[in-house]
């Protein structure tokens, strides 16, 4: 009962706030889940241009990237938002992992340093987003504490959440595992790279912004 009242009050104020400015839609998740690939897909679909670079090496996105004024239209309804692509959240960053990925020592140390700052920025931005898409790699174990901490923090702040199980184009993908790990949330399986199931994803966004 108390939670319902609190959510109503938060939603009320968020609605007032959203009339003053575009709402901020954050993309959150662990590194290499496909946040920037999804951001690029959304931007290509609705703005005709990409947002950032993607790479197989973790922590490619090390700064917050924002694409402003994206308008999504469906069945006469329109939602406008600023898309906030955040660096992947991790609990460990070892420059030696970047050495193994082929960077030289100087590059690896620099990347590690920037990656730590990126994680801190992502966590700070939890207070500035109005809704969040949590992007998880559906080929990986969903029970990692990073996933649980991100989603727990969003719940504690009453921020609406949509979970995306990305990389359904890969053989090892299991959307069901992610649904089982977070049964209280809607989970939509997509391939941001191939654009599979994006219609369902956009429908999910409309639900999040309700």
């Amino acid at each position: 009962m108390f939670n319902a009242i609190r959510q109503f009050i938060n939603k009320f104020f968020r609605n007032i706030f959203s009339k003053k400015k575009n709402i901020a839609l954050g993309l959150y998740g662990p590194p290499n889940g496909g946040k920037t690939t999804l951001a690029n897909k959304v931007c290509m679909d609705w703005l005709g241009e990409e947002m950032g670079t993607v790479s197989n090496i973790a922590h490619e996105t090390r700064e917050i990237q924002i694409k402003e004024e994206i308008s999504l239209e469906k069945n006469g309804k329109v939602i406008k938002f600023n898309l906030v692509d955040t660096p992947g959240i991790a609990t460990r960053i070892d420059y030696e992992d970047f050495l193994k990925a082929g960077l030289n020592e100087k590059e690896a140390k620099q990347r590690a340093k920037e990656a730590t700052k990126g994680v801190i920025e992502s966590i700070k931005w939890l207070d500035d987003v109005d809704a969040v898409v949590v992007v998880l790699d559906s080929t990986k174990d969903p029970y990692s504490q990073v996933n649980i901490t991100i989603i727990g923090n969003l719940a504690a702040r009453d921020i609406p959440v949509l979970i995306v199980a990305n990389k359904i184009d890969l053989k090892k993908s299991s959307v069901k595992k992610i649904q089982a790990a977070f049964p209280q949330y809607e989970v939509i399986g997509i391939s941001a790279k191939d654009g599979d199931n994006m219609d369902k994803f956009y429908e999910g966004l409309f639900e999040v912004f309700k």
Partner: protein, 138 residues
Amino acid sequence: MLSLQFVPYHEIEELGSARRVKKLLDIVKQDNIVLLQGRLKKEEEADLIAITMEEIDNKFKGIELAVVNPDKKTDGIIRNVKQNMVNLLLGDRQGFTIIGPASIVKDIKRDPDKIQLYTEEAKANGKGNSVKGRKKGT
């Protein structure tokens, strides 16, 4: 050799959020695995990650973290309300939290009520050290 340090909840109970996180991180930075009774607040877990990032250097590579919580869904509404009140007043003492230095703990695999802790040698052998939690209570 693995060094495991048990931290009862009362040891962090009186501390503010920043000092709680610092205390736990200081233990971990001395190459100990912390076994904390109960759990941090959700915001403190995020703070723990952020402060860990600030402390990372060539020697300290970060942490591995896992929280094992009893399944609250099966407890019933009244019991959950009671438990939430107790948590609000006294802190969340249910379940436990494991925090290990990334240089020692390579991975923590987690099911809802079981965790497997992989150390460097154990991972090379494909075997984890298993810690099983109970579903209800502690």
